[in-house]
Subunit: 270 residues, 2 copies
């Protein structure tokens, strides 16, 4: 099954646009878990088991695993999802980007080594740096467009012939890179007006949206700006607010509660 | 010692601007080596031992290690350099870029886990994505500017108020990101005119230059365009032409010969 079909099926099966980001910070793991790769694996499995019926995707952030040599825990978490909840796609957040021969190695890392369904990439190096990912028609390619962080404005908002750079990126993706219909765009939740402009520009290309706050107003604006005609088109990620809702032994229940709250809030505006 | 001082000392000690890129492709290892992490480690050590007096830096490309779960071989190669040739800096080529909290994890990966002296990063996400690297005053931060691949033109060359985007990136780095004097820029060897423009713009910020061809003309134009007043300022990388100069048991000698040829060619024009 193609990634976009898998994502559409997960949206429908769980009636959810919420993605749980797996960012296992050793310093923030619940106190009763060991602060090592084994603790991370236990943590991830518990979070996944507690949220699998509330989400449309999981997004492990590879940096948290790489920092503490926990590659096995990353593989373990993805395996756990695919063995027990095979209908939920896994987006590996890696933001890779390099010349073609190197990008091919990164594609092997994401899709063969870790078995991810999709991977995030950085567009700065252009089409040939994306091509080794794009040509995997069954895999998703999630391209940075307008990110949620303060520094995003430094380059992404620069005026290129009357339009911001991120609109040129979106245009390239929609018109040239999406021949296999396997592209998504990263758009920060902090900028609903920008999300709306890009939605008008790219049709039904799905958006991965990080940076959702706790405030309902933000979610309302975001969903109304970014949803497609059938009320989907968004993968709304929350990591820390869900993962670290409690630092006690009830962390998984607390995560479930937060994930459900976000799902229901999002669904109110679809 | 700060990275830039270590680099300057290595330029002088080996009278060389050449960097050997460690891109250990399993498919291209010499036939007598095993096609696994152990074979990679053996290969890297032999290449390093054969070239250590001809180079100013080594640049392991992490994608090649990540694709085949050879993290231990990456660490082994860097350890081998630092134990035996501690005056030669190691630039980890990873092209990382993410929001601040995640970038901090990537900085831990590069500098603590692997002990690199410098790391390559992607500027697309802006200043706060670079900050966790930049604030390590003793470490080098090598920022993509104008890369050597065909797709580089897609976004890097876009006209921003009369200047290409990559010049805006270079300006930001030189004027805002380089407070600790620990920045470098990536500039492709394929574009000597662009290298010259950026050199005029950023003073003595060192350039990491991939994409050197076999033709002397390219090297002459590149060195004349990019050198600083004292005949340094460049880290000219060659990977495959050196690593795979021979696929036989003489691969290390052949690599030495290619590295020496490139060093001498570069030195002719400094």
């Amino acid at each position: 099954m193609r990634f976009t079909e898998k994502l559409a099926a997960a949206w429908a099966a769980n009636n959810s646009l919420v993605c749980v980001g797996l960012d296992p910070d050793l310093q923030r793991l619940p106190a009763h878990l060991s602060r090592d790769a084994a603790g991370i694996a236990t943590f991830n499995r518990a979070i996944i088991d507690a949220t699998h019926d509330l989400v449309c995707a999981y997004k492990p952030q590879i940096a948290y695993f790489a920092a503490c040599a926990a590659e096995d825990a990353l593989r373990d978490g993805i395996d756990h999802i695919q063995r027990n909840y095979p209908h939920i796609p896994v987006i590996l957040d890696a933001k890779r980007g390099d010349i073609g021969s190197t990008a091919e190695q990164y594609a092997v890392e994401a899709f063969e080594r870790y078995g991810a369904d999709a991977v995030t990439i950085n567009p700065y190096m252009g089409h040939d740096s994306a091509e080794p990912f794009l040509r995997r028609a069954d895999k998703g390619v999630v391209i940075l467009c307008r990110t949620s962080n303060p520094g995003a404005a430094d380059f992404q908002d620069l005026d290129v012939g009357g339009r911001p750079l991120y609109e040129i990126v979106a245009e390239n993706v929609a018109q040239k890179w999406n021949g296999n219909r396997n592209c998504m765009l990263v758009l920060g939740a902090t900028w609903p007006e920008q999300v709306a402009r890009i939605r008008a520009q790219v049709g039904d290309v799905p958006f991965l949206v990080p940076g959702v706050g706790a405030q309902g107003g933000d979610v309302e604006k975001l969903v109304r700006a970014g949803r497609t005609a059938n009320g989907t088109g968004l993968v709304i990620n929350s990591s820390r607010a869900i993962l670290y809702a409690s630092s006690g032994e009830d962390f998984a229940e607390a995560a479930r509660s937060e994930a459900r709250k976000l799902r229901d809030l999002v669904n109110r505006y679809r």
